[in-house]
Each structure stands twice: as structure tokens, then as C-alpha cells.
Amino acid sequence: MNYPMINPVRVDANAGTWKPILLTAANEFPVVTPIATASPDYVIQLNEIKSFQQNITTEERKLVQYWGAGAVLRWNEIMRELVALHNLAPYQNPDGSYPIPSANNPLAYPTFPFSNPPYACRAYAYLSTAQYDACIGAYFYKQQFNRAAPFTVDATIQTLLPKSTLPSYPSEDATVMGASVEILKLLFPGDQDYINQRAEEHKRARLIAGANVRSDLDAGEVLGKAIAAKFIARARGDRAGAAVGNATVWAKLKSDCIARGETPWLSQETPERPPMLPVFGAVKAFLFDSLTLVNSIRPPAPPSTGSQKFKDETEEVYQITKNLTREQLRIANFWADGVRTYTPPGHWNYIAANDFAQQNFSEARWARNMALLNMSLIDAGVVCWDAKNLYYNPRPMQVDPRIKTGIGLPNFPSYISGHSTFSGAAATVLGYIIPARAQAYKDMATEASVSRMYGGIHFRSDCEVGVITGNKVGAYAIARGRIDGAE
């Protein structure tokens, strides 16, 4: 995608004072004191830029412009691409069971990961939160060392990007890049070659642009990687590794549901596929603890599968799919975000990126806003998956086989709708970030939600309660935004 180059209205020079997510302090990790701009070694670095700038090709100018749109944006985009690439469910084994992708052997089939919506919302969250803390670190040290940018030191250096008024050591681009690379390698371990290649390209773009000298980049990258390590440690302990469950867990979800007198969800795939990451509801949220989830956010039980309301809602879905208009199908397709896509959380990242690009945000503000959005999205995913597997409610076509889908049926319980929960959260957070668009986001969330009824794969209760629950999650992100020092 083409985006305008970063040229912030507010430079956010004080972003080093914003409240980090995992860092204990902006300077938790040290950064070596930079060499002086008058030193011979610095001159060598200036000459490196000059050598890059001697014959700038059209290709190189494009590269500079591409990365000039922002490190947070571009690495977010790269993750969306990797999510889409890996968003494919594994094919069954000869015995009808399904193989589980392994991070330890990512390139063997089934390749790791299967980046389904829960996996994806968590991936975006770790990327964005690490990028945000990386920015806080970078901005902190920029102020501390106050080393001028190369184009300020040497007027013969061309600048192919809008001139930043910030000190350039360490480079916030490189810090975000370093953090992003580490998170991406953790989550997409089979794609490291590609990830490294993009990182090299990013650094080269900064040098060609005359925006940073080599030591700005090196220091930034080291800092970014150190900060990412904290997030990786959190990720390793956030219980996502156990989210896939096992045969005992799967059987218990079903028997618990039956014990409550309800019709349990059954996979509609052949052979029957275990529910997608059924223990994802136990993953550690970013914005609240598990007690808050249970007491303040968890939605009430859906209409009983034996109730008249349930029958009415089933009939409603049947009637919608039977009389589906082309416009309703368009809406269902537009929001489907199924196989081989960046998933609904990715869709909201895309919506956010497009709108943020019009706001002239600083790199730090991009990071902060993306972090708020993606913390709300992972937490929406956690809350939603908690409800899905607690209530274990069947899909419409399980109880009425006349219902067919024009999009695709996800392989996990119905209540509450993931699309609705994600969208309810995202619309709330984005409406806080760009108040002028609040109603537009709300309308999008409503459309995304109802699109699942048009697709024949959700009941009205799933959708409506999903949006309300998402809104609640979004409110926690806003509460954080109000006190993070960036307002």
C-alpha cells in the first residue's frame, strides 16, 4: 500500500515519559553513549550515507518512500501478510485425526503457525505492544543523548524524507524494527529469512534517505531486541501454548455442556475437527486479570438450546440465508476475513493503519495507538474464546441443516461471535483515538457483526452480545490510554 511519509504534526519528543506496557522504566535497558558527531568515526558513517546517495536508483527511492511511511505501519503490514500466508487449517491425518503445527519444526507440514483469528490477535498484540515499549525506550534515549541527525551535522547529506526534528540516536525506526523482527521470528519461525531480508531493506532505506547513520540504527536495533525479549518471555508464559487443548479437554467441553442440559457444539467438518484453540480463553490478557474477565466482562449464558428464543433465532438465520440479497452477500464477503486472510483483527489493523496514516502521527503515537487497539483485540479474543468454550453453543447449521453458508463456517462454538467481539472492541478504541470517526467505526462494527448472520453462521444473540462485550473490552483500553501520558 502507498501511504504518506511520516511528518508528524506533534513530534511527541516526550514519548520517553509515556507509560510503558512491560518495561519497568524507559531506561530499563541501557544504550551505549554515542560517539560525538565531530569524531572521525562519525565522519566515516556520514561517508557511508554519501556513498549510498551517490547514485540513487528509482528502486531505492521507492524503498525510502515505502519505509518512510513508518516503521510501526510497515512492520504491522508485514505481520498481516504473514498471518494471511499461514491462515490455513491443516489437512487431516490418514486416521482422521488432525496434525498440530509445531513451532519446533515450522517448515514441515503442517507448517507453523496456523494463524487463525486467536493466534493472529495475539500476534498483533505482541507486535504492537513491543513496538510501543521500543518507542518509549528510543525516545527516552534520544532526549538523553541528544545527538543531531546526519543531515543537521553535514548539510551535504541529502534528505529523501521529511526532516525529523528529533535527535537521531538511537533510531526509533531501528528500535521498532529490532523489536518487530524478534516478535515476528517467535511467531513465524519458518519465515526468518524473509523477516531478516525486510529488516536489512529497512535499514538500507534509512541510510539512503540520509535519516540515520549506521550507529543510530545499530543502537536502536540492539535496544529493540532487548525490549522484545521481555515480550517474548511474557508470550512464553501467557498460556497460549496450551490453548490447543487435548482429547481430554475437548471431551470435557462437550460433556460439561451436556451436563448443563444444553446441546453441545459439534464440529461440522468431516472428519470432525477439534475446536480451534479452545483454551485460548485462559490466555493472559493485557488489560485486565482473569477475575475481572469472569466478574465484569464475561457475557451471560446464551438462550438455552431448548428455548423458544433459540428456535426463533435459528429460524431467523434460515430466513436470512434463504432470502439473501446480493448486498447482504457482499457485506458477508467483505467482513468474512476467513482462510488465507489477515483475520478480523488484521482487518481492524488495516482500517486503523489507513486512518492513522491520514493523522500525521509521530512514530511513537502510531505505536501507542496500535498498541491500544491490539491490546483490546487480543483481550476481546480471550473473552470471546472464554465464552465460546464455556457455553459451547452450536452453530445454526448444526441445529438446522437447511442453513448453508455463502462464506465459510469457522470450526468453533457459536456464542459469542468473534467478529462481533473484535469489532466491538476495535470500534470503541478507534473512536477514542479519532473521535471524528467514532460513528463510522461503530457502523462498521455493526455491519461486521450482522455480516455473520448474513453468512448463516451466527445467531443474533451471538452478534449482539459480541459487540456489547467487545465494547466493554475496548473501554479498558481507553482507560489505559487516558493515563499513559500520551493524551
Partner: protein, 322 residues
């Protein structure tokens, strides 16, 4: 006196619906060496059914228990008008319906693509008892409804606008004949309902670039005044595109290739101007398409809008010494 109409019937274009499953239910008409006489209009309905259980995911052949058997029914109105005996205008107007026997995916139905084709006898020569002709054809097809192409394999078509160019040679000696043709299909971009999609990379657009395609066709068999029986070999090649990933879904711009063989039959009834056709074909090799087998049948009638005496018509299709 036996009417000459039966003779003219021979010149009806041979209505061959080759439904290449995913490739689109577009009718592959007119790959034959027959022409309508001036101001004669042959028109009629056809109905067809094709289905597959196995398909090629890239080059890997597999089945899919969540689709079961995917079937396509089509109903089509086809016509061929003789502007002159050497220049014909043909059209096809299909209605298509799809269904999967297993799983949850909704079958699709609707008017598919209108196709128009101009067929011109560019060169013809009698060599002793044999007849040799070269044809040039140009066609255009365009979707007639806003159907969803982004729901393969159940979409009723690919929704591209196509420009078709075909070069064809036909040789007949007594009742035996052979026809060979090469077709190039230039396809327009397709618009889908979402603004991102993944091929071998991410695209942020609702427009999908469609690779062009080509088709080789060989036919040979028996051609008499009352009966045509021919064996058909077709090879459709998509000139670009990508493979369905492992356990993924097909997409409009996949590299869809298919090789099929089949048989076409046409019989002219004792009723003047009325003929029936039947054909069957099966896919013997493919890539990103279903291994479909299908049948079609149709009835055609010729309307004579010429004021000339029919016996004056010369058959372009028969040797002079007949």
C-alpha cells in the same frame, strides 16, 4: 422431394458445452468446421450436468469430504445466425447452478456470461475429394449478473470479461474429418467483494488481475448429412496464476489447467430443421480444477429468413462432386 434443410443442418455449429468446472461454466462453443447459410438462424436450448469428486490442489489430486461431489447444472440458449455463408454470428446465454453434496457451502445459481462470437471462413480450398477450410473467430463474453466469483469451487463463473481469438483449420474427405484450433482468451481483471486478498503475496485491492488463457482443441470423426459423431480432445491452459495452497480454497486467478476428452453426437431428425445433440466429456488431467465428467443435450431448430430457393444453396461443407 426431400428438403435440403437436412443438409443445411449439417452446418449448424456444433453446440459443445465444455464445463471446465472451476474454470467457469462458460460454454466453449463453436470449435467446429460448420457454418450456417446466409439468413438462416439456428437456435435452441441445451441442458447439461457435470460433476467431480476429486480435484487437483495445485498438482496434488485429492478429494474433499467437506464438499463431497460438486456439481454444475447449466441451461443455455444458443444461437447461430448466418450473416453470409462465410460469416456467422453466434451467441450463448447460460444459466448455471452449482451444488456441493456435503458440507455447509451454499450452492450458487444465476445467469452467467453472455458470449458473442463472429466466425469467418477465411480460406477454403477443394483438394480433389477433400475440402480444406481455415476459420478466424473473434468473441467477447461478459457477465450478465453480479454473481460472486470469489466463492470457488461453487461460484457459477469467474466474472471476467473475455476477448477470444481463435484460429481453426478443418479438413474433410468423404465422411471423415478432422478439426484443429487454437484459442487465446484475454481476460479482464475481476472485482471481488473484499479489498484484500492473498495470492503468492498480499494484495490491498478488490481488483484481481486475471491471467490470460489458451485452449487447444482437436476433433475428428464422422460427418454425414444426418449424423455427426466426433471424438474431442481439449486442453485449457491458464497462462499464469498460482496454485491452491495445501488444504486451501481455490481462487479466481489460480493456474487452472485441464485436459479433457469427449464425444459429440448430432443427429438431424426427420422433422425439417430440427436436430438434437448430445455430448459427454471427462477431464483426464488438470491443475487447480475438478476432475469433472459431464453431459449435455440440446435441441435446435433452424429458421429460414432467406427468400432464396433453398436448393440453390451450396453446401460449403460437402465436396463439390457430392
Amino acid at each position: 422431394m426431400k428438403s435440403t434443410l437436412p443438409k443445411l443442418l449439417l452446418k449448424i455449429f456444433f453446440c459443445n458445452l465444455l464445463l471446465l468446472c472451476f474454470i467457469s461454466a462458460k460454454a466453449q462453443t463453436d470449435i467446429d468446421g460448420l457454418m450456417m447459410e446466409k439468413k438462416f438462424f439456428c437456435v435452441g436450448p441445451t441442458a447439461g450436468y457435470s460433476s467431480w469428486k476429486n480435484y487437483w490442489e495445485g498438482t496434488l489430486k485429492r478429494d474433499n469430504l467437506n464438499l463431497g461431489r460438486v456439481s454444475t447444472s447449466n441451461f443455455m440458449l444458443m444461437g447461430n445466425y448466418g450473416i453470409t455463408s462465410k460469416l456467422n454470428l453466434l451467441f450463448g446465454l447460460p444459466y448455471v447452478k452449482t451444488k456441493a453434496s456435503a458440507g455447509n457451502m451454499a450452492g450458487q445459481k444465476g445467469l452467467q456470461d453472455l458470449s458473442l462470437l463472429v466466425k469467418w471462413v477465411a480460406y477454403q480450398k477443394h483438394i480433389g475429394k477433400a475440402d480444406f477450410k481455415t476459420f478466424l473467430m473473434a468473441g467477447y463474453s461478459t457477465p450478465l449478473s453480479n454473481y460472486n466469483a470469489d466463492f470457488l469451487p461453487l461460484s457459477i463463473g469467474l466474472h471476467s470479461k473475455n476477448v477470444t481469438m481463435r484460429l481453426m483449420a478443418d479438413y474433410q474427405r468423404n465422411h471423415l474429418f478432422a478439426t484443429a484450433s487454437y484459442t487465446y482468451i484475454a481476460r479482464s481483471n475481476v472485482t471481488i467483494d473484499r479489498y484484500t486478498y492473498y495470492t503468492t503475496e498480499m494484495h490491498y485491492s478488490n481488483e484481481v488481475r486475471m491471467p490470460d488463457a489458451s485452449q487447444l482443441s482437436f476433433r475428428a470423426g464422422y460427418r454425414s448429412e444426418t449424423l455427426i459423431a466426433e471424438a474431442v480432445f481439449n486442453q485449457w491452459t491458464t497462462l499464469g496464476g498460482f496454485d491452491i495452497p495445501r488444504n486451501g480454497m481455490p481462487f479466481v486467478s489460480n493456474k487452472m489447467n485441464a485436459t479433457s476428452i469427449g464425444v459429440n453426437l448430432k443427429y438431424e431428425t426427420p422433422v425439417n430443421g430440427l436436430s438434437v445433440i448430445a455430448n459427454g466429456s471427462t477431464t483426464i488431467a488438470g491443475r487447480n480444477v475438478g476432475q469433472s465428467t459431464g453431459f449435455n443435450a440440446g435441441v435446435f431448430y433452424i429458421f429460414d429468413f432467406s427468400k432464396k430457393i433453398k436448393t440453390e444453396k451450396k453446401s460449403a461443407n460437402k465436396p463439390e462432386n457430392k
